[in-house]
Point group: C2
Chain length 68, copies 2
Amino acid sequence: MKDLAIQFGFNLRKKRKELGMSQDKLALLAEIDRSYGGRIERGEVNITLEKAYQLAEVLECDVRELLP
Amino acid sequence: MKDLAIQFGFNLRKKRKELGMSQDKLALLAEIDRSYGGRIERGEVNITLEKAYQLAEVLECDVRELLP
């Protein structure tokens, strides 16, 4: 199941970069700690559904786009 | 965000019933506690992405079908 977090993190980073958004800004808007944001992008965290939706909202995309 | 868990739980229960699967069996196959399974269906738990995928796998559906 570790692949899941890695794939989610990869998709999240890709989407964030597409928008030209910094990790700092994403963290600020999603109300998460900056280091936690980095850990999510590296697939080190098994995040909750709620957090996934929150990140998708900040990136103005459907959460399905971020899922593996 | 509570709505999210409620909607996920609703979809999960609906899918489980469509398959004629008991809560016990779902819990057993998804390797979760039976009471925890009930709490998920009632939307009382903010589950992780990993758990959502695990439940979708047991119900032989795409996790996207269970998402709000």
